[in-house]
């Protein structure tokens, strides 16, 4: 029993309360937000080290024993997700403070941002499906508020789609939970594998597909992705970065959990996932190529890239899962950086529309580098972190002889590069447009936050060996049977 592992789930809530109480002083709110996230970052590092030593750590809320009480569990997968998520939350908060806008205009930004952190942390640390539902609700309700903060017409319209889709997913989630509880008598993830044994295999598969569908909506996989490119680009930049970089990945995380818990050897569902993965990659990247605005292009990429993670999961091998985990970790950083850079371009030029921005490389060479590195990384150009992730995935795919998927993922990489080139050619190359707005200064905090994330993603590429080894150990904990039978 290690009570402190629940701390990341409750500490941000306490900070959110403090942030509400000091609402009149934006400076105090900033100190609380930055201080809390820094403390959480320390906790996450400690968690990363200790889970590697202990495999799995648990604590029971209120000291109530397992099936009755709520279990908090931390394993390597939770730890790695938590560390990346919190690091990203911290960087984006610095960016948002530098940007001002919604952050300085609205008293609610900091408290709601912190409850979002609490929800995400709780989702990564829960060992109980019902508590996962609660965590999803906490993070979704916060995201509804953040998405519509500012109250512009486009935001409210996009927010409505988002809320309706999310509520639909939540209701399906809740109903599936009810059915599962009726069938097995438990919603505790540790108890489920044994409890599912008693069920008919077909019924087991139905449950697996139900939950994968629910989490698939949140992860925006094909064909449940249509809401994402519509709603995300309308939020304030910093918020879009968090949503596209992280929130869909919480859905992928939940898919990994449920698949490894109740269907680690269900190859039929695995094949379904592979088909879905291929379609998600292809449709997403086609969508991206057809767009004309930076944030919209990037939003379609967010869909496309989810396909890669589902690809790793669908292989149902330790190598595939390890690659998926590595991919998620590096992708969260890269994607967030791209959105932040997109925001910087918008800030500097006044628009994110490719027809109206030109020659940014001439006027802002540093910004060009900040965009180029993560963009190439997203496409998977060596030696950047995206290459490492894709290499691991393709390697795992070759091991499992999933030639079609390997081919599709490589082709999609090239198309990703193509659409990144579109932003590059559209916004950075060419003669600078002669409008006065092009000389607007960029706040240091925004640039520094983006720069740090770029450095982190380079760091991931440099430390790819140890990180992959860690992800592999995480995958072995998740798939103990497959791990022992592998050559």
């Amino acid at each position: 029993m290690t009570p402190w592992i629940a701390l990341p789930a409750v500490l941000p809530l306490l900070a959110a309360a403090a942030s509400v109480l000091v609402g009149r002083s934006r400076a105090a709110q900033r100190i609380i937000g930055l201080g809390t996230l820094t403390a959480l970052l320390g906790l996450a590092v400690r968690l990363l080290i200790e889970t590697d030593r202990n495999d799995v750590m648990t604590t029971q809320a209120g000291g109530w024993v397992a099936p009755l009480g709520i279990t908090f569990v931390a394993d390597r997968l939770s730890a790695i997700m938590l560390l990346v998520a919190i690091g990203m939350f911290l960087a984006v908060l610095v960016y948002a403070i530098g940007q001002g806008d919604e952050e300085s205009r609205h008293v609610g930004f900091h408290p709601v941002y912190l409850t979002l952190v609490a929800g995400v942390c709780m989702a990564f640390l829960t060992g109980d499906l019902f508590n996962l539902f609660v965590a999803f609700e906490v993070l979704l309700v916060s995201s509804y508020v953040l998405l519509t903060l500012g109250g512009r017409l486009a935001q409210v319209r996009a927010g409505t789609t988002y809320v309706v889709i999310s509520l639909l997913a939540s209701i399906t989630f809740l109903m599936s939970l009810g059915l599962l509880y009726r069938a097995t008598g438990t919603v505790n993830l540790a108890d489920l594998p044994a409890a599912m044994e008693a069920l008919d295999p077909a019924l087991r598969r139905v449950f697996l597909l139900l939950f994968l569908g629910v989490f698939g909506i949140k992860a925006a996989i094909f064909p449940l992705f249509f809401w994402l490119p519509d709603s995300y680009p309308n939020a304030p930049t910093a918020i879009t970065a968090v949503f596209a970089g992280l929130l869909t990945k919480v859905g992928v995380y939940a898919m990994i959990r449920i698949q490894t818990t109740i269907g680690p050897d269900d190859t039929v569902v695995g094949t379904v996932l592979l088909v879905v993965a291929a379609l998600t990659m292809v449709i997403g990247v086609f969508g991206a190529i057809s767009q004309q605005e930076i944030k919209r292009i990037l939003s379609f990429h967010a869909v496309s890239q989810i396909g890669y993670m589902v690809f790793g999961l669908g292989l149902l091998t330790v190598a595939g899962l390890a690659a998926a985990i590595l991919y998620i970790a590096q992708y969260i950083v890269v994607k967030t950086t791209l959105f932040l850079t997109g925001g910087l371009v918008e800030r500097a030029s006044g628009t994110g529309h490719l027809d109206r921005v030109d020659g940014m490389l001439r006027t802002r060479p540093l910004l060009g580098m900040l965009f180029l590195l993560p963009a190439l990384s997203l496409a998977g150009v060596p030696p950047l972190s995206g290459f490492v992730g894709k290499f691991a995935l393709v390697d795992a795919g070759v091991d499992s002889r999933s030639w079609v998927l390997v081919g599709v993922s490589l082709a999609v990489s090239i198309m990703t590069l193509l659409s990144m080139n579109k932003i590059w050619a559209g916004a950075f190359m060419g003669e600078p447009t002669a409008n006065a707005e092009a000389t607007r200064p960029l706040p240091t905090a925004m640039v520094v936050a983006t720069g740090v994330l770029v450095a982190v993603s380079i760091g991931i590429a440099l430390g790819a060996g140890p990180i992959y080894a860690y992800a592999e150990r995480a995958a072995e904990t998740l798939l103990p049977l497959a791990g022992s039978s592998a050559p």
């Binding site: 009570p3 409750v10 809530l13 306490l14 942030s19 509400v20 000291g63």
Partner: protein, 161 residues
């Protein structure tokens, strides 16, 4: 705003019993149906009642504290009950209770879960109050003109406080 005698009197009659019922739900919540959330909802419903009878002015005069203070304070109390046990090395939300002999009422159980429930109730009340602050004060300009004079008086009196 035009006041109705019937609504006014009914509100005044219902108010004490509704609050008492809210308190009952809050206190009994630990072992029986009830709890901070429903208790808070019933208490919040009385805010709606005051609003219907006398508008936002009445609500503000009856509840002296600002809504975000109630909300933040409640969340702080609830989150503290969850967090403090961890800092002491116990599981999150660890419950701590003792029994007291109250005059007239007999033995009563006091637990930290009750404190948590009080926090939850405050969050609910604060939220309901906030909803009325946000949406309840929009009177059409022609009515507003009767009450307050001058074009600049449409400003929300509490903005910035």
């Amino acid at each position: 705003m035009k006041r109705s005698v019937i609504v006014d009197v009914t509100a005044r009659l219902i108010l004490p019993s509704a609050l008492l019922f809210a308190l009952h739900l809050l206190l009994s919540g630990h072992d029986r149906p009830g709890g901070g959330f429903v208790g808070g909802l019933v208490a919040g419903a009385t805010i709606a009642l005051i609003f219907v009878a006398g508008g936002m002015e009445d609500v503000r005069s009856v509840v002296p504290v600002r809504p975000w203070t109630i909300l933040g304070g409640g969340l702080a109390v609830a989150a503290s009950v969850a967090t403090v046990p961890i800092l002491l090395g116990n599981p999150v939300m660890d419950n701590w209770k003792f029994y007291v002999d109250l005059p007239l009422l007999g033995e009563a159980k006091i637990s930290s879960a009750l404190v948590f429930d009080i926090g939850v109730a405050a969050v609910v009340i604060g939220t309901i109050f906030m909803v009325f602050e946000a949406f309840g004060d929009e009177e059409p300009p022609e009515y507003r003109g009767e009450v307050r004079q001058g074009p600049g008086s449409g400003q929300h009196p509490e903005v910035g406080s």
